[in-house]
Symmetry: C2
Subunit: 388 residues, 2 copies
């Protein structure tokens, strides 16, 4: 029986975006994913790590997680294939897994478990949780898979994958589930492997022996499109830097994998509760909601402000209009900040020159004579000299 799969990852339940609690966004998007799974009539859902944002998740995050798994697996009877990611605590996430399995909720949190495939229809699944290099090295040594483990994660993984291959049923398709930074290839691999989020990269071509390799860790669904490797990406934008990324899940038709891999592993975008926008605008545009600005008022907004002058209570003025305003960056402010670093040390001990310099940089014109006198008077008062 051919199976249809849904692939999602990097939920980061409990994540805050510039201080905004994203649980409502997460609850909303998880509900959409469930609806999609029902519409597409998928046979199982793969959740490839980073369920929670922190090893010790908040009570509220755990509540959303537990409620989601209950709804998906117990109420809607979707088989789940899940692994722990680098943000999760494998130990904490592991609670209940022995009972979950009885209801086709397969949660792996150790390397050893990855060597026993889960069979579903015409597919064998190999679920490898996030693992540190040192742990992986110990594992291959202690299991007697190798005399002395190599030092690169790619090479250790190659040994683990060779073990997996021993259990390959040739009449079935083979699907890898992992939480890794996949980059480069074994042939090109340099002596200094890439790292992201503390995670050493592994070579894409390692996964050529699989029919599909479902990954978590990189938040962009287009992060690496080599060979059998695919990321689902995070279902939401978890930083302003991701504002242009399409967000969604992948739906995999395993019967098409051999013929048209791209079509078989299509990306399905989702509509979030609130979008993340990054805009360039002036304070006046924002204040009078010029152009399309009103349309963005209920989304997460990151603004690059074009104004050069100081605006008092900037955030307090904008927050009533844009309750989900994340941050305001200023080109002028940036220029000033870098300029500040270039103030010659000699001026530090000449307060009047320093103030003069500050005004020039801020207003781009020199102080008037009157202003200079005021500063002089003020400095004299501070230093205790009285010219009266």
């Amino acid at each position: 029986m051919d199976v249809k799969l849904l692939h999602t990852a990097d939920w980061h339940l409990g994540k805050k975006l510039h201080g905004f609690d994203m649980l409502p966004d997460q609850s909303y998007i998880l509900e959409q994913i469930l609806q999609l799974a029902k519409e597409e009539k998928v046979d199982a859902i793969m959740i490839t790590g980073d369920i929670y944002d922190r090893a010790i998740a908040s009570n509220e995050a755990i509540q959303l997680g537990n409620q989601t798994f209950r709804k998906w697996n117990i109420d809607e009877q979707f088989p789940l294939l899940m692994i722990s990611g680098n943000h999760d605590s494998a130990t904490r996430l592991a609670t209940g897994k022995e009972w979950f399995a009885a209801n086709h909720f397969h949660l792996n949190t150790t390397i050893k478990e990855s060597l026993t495939p889960i069979t579903l229809g015409d597919c064998q699944f190999y679920l490898l949780p996030y693992v540190e290099l040192i742990e992986a090295r110990f594992f291959v040594e202690n299991e007697g898979l190798v005399e002395e483990a190599p030092n690169s994660l790619s090479q250790v993984l190659q040994i683990i994958i060779q073990e997996m291959q021993k259990t390959f049923d040739p009449s079935k398709k083979h699907i890898f589930i992992g939480h890794l930074f996949v980059a480069g290839s074994l042939r090109q691999e340099s002596e200094t492997p890439l790292e992201i989020g503390g995670l050493q990269s592994v070579a894409s071509d390692l996964f050529d022996v699989f029919d599909y390799a479902a990954f978590g860790h990189l938040h962009s669904a287009t992060a690496n499109l080599k060979g059998k490797v695919r990321y689902s990406g995070s279902p939401l934008k978890y930083s302003v830097g991701e504002y242009r990324d399409p967000k969604g899940v992948r739906v995999i038709n395993t019967d098409l994998l051999a013929d048209d891999f791209e079509q078989a592993t299509r990306f399905v975008p989702l509509q979030p509760l609130r979008e993340v926008y990054h805009l360039e605008a002036s304070f006046e545009d924002l204040l009078y909601q010029r152009g399309k600005l009103k349309e963005y008022a209920n989304d997460y907004l990151s603004v690059s402000l074009s104004n050069e002058e100081v605006i008092m209570q900037l955030m307090n003025q904008l927050r009533p209009l844009y309750p989900y305003l994340l941050n305001v960056t200023r080109k002028e402010r940036q220029r000033l900040e870098s300029a500040t670093k270039r103030i010659p040390l000699s001026k530090i001990n000449q307060p009047e020159a320093l103030i003069q310099d500050f005004f020039v940089r801020l207003y781009e014109e020199p102080l008037t004579e009157q202003q200079q006198n005021w500063i002089k008077d003020a400095m004299n008062q501070v230093s205790g000299k009285d010219e009266s």
Copy 2:
């Protein structure tokens, strides 16, 4: 079918005793409880709250908890009836409970769940997790059980128990499972109810409608032996103050409950990995391991020292002989400490008099003239006066 039950509570996994990690003791005693359950061929195990010592338990504590439940429920197939206690986080402990139930592991963490009895053989079980008064009041109001909830926990519980009684099958026995401080009776209940560990007391006679009321919270199995109320007590001594308490579990033969309640709910003592002893001894007794002291060397030891003199590096001298030495208290030291509080304020500004006083209290003889001169010189040097 009559059922035989094992009742245990207050494991406090992850608890430290004077800095000593008790996980090995806990692992050992849990294994003994399992062996007893197998020998006694019990039909189910009741675990009446405070599984973990803290709301956010350590990874190691969670590992022991998960491993214990897996072994008892999945490997050995014992039905488990469990509730969260005041030390547990109900939300965190709840993870997996919907899957557990399919394997007769019944874990209640909300009041609402307590109204649906679990039936096992000829018994109906009502599992009420630890709950704050305010939460219980909201519950009875929101469920429409009462117009306005009363202010005492006993009275709110009475309403909840009345609801439970509506589902009583008269052909069955009824067993209450709770994590409460049971004390006094409804008739005597004063306007200022007792509290322990932040938990308001509830009246014993509330539980007269049950055939057995299994409690957690109080660590002594003999804490309250009124009516149908029984504590199992903690399986280990979790403070020096408990050193005389027998520790173990209760084994309940439900067929005997009506005829001989005491015999039907017998207490079975357990042998811990290390005992907790409290001794009076001299430093010399301890150092030369006089009497039975050598026998205590591998147990947790709290010593009340009979010596009056100062002993340098006391703990460092004793620890090699008594690696599990918890603490040493000193009668003399106590006398000194209380004496210290009685130093007249006037002396605080007379350093020499203060030092003199200190030496008298410590050595019970006055300073020599030479010693007094040394102090005088030292004080002069400190204050900058030079008498040379």
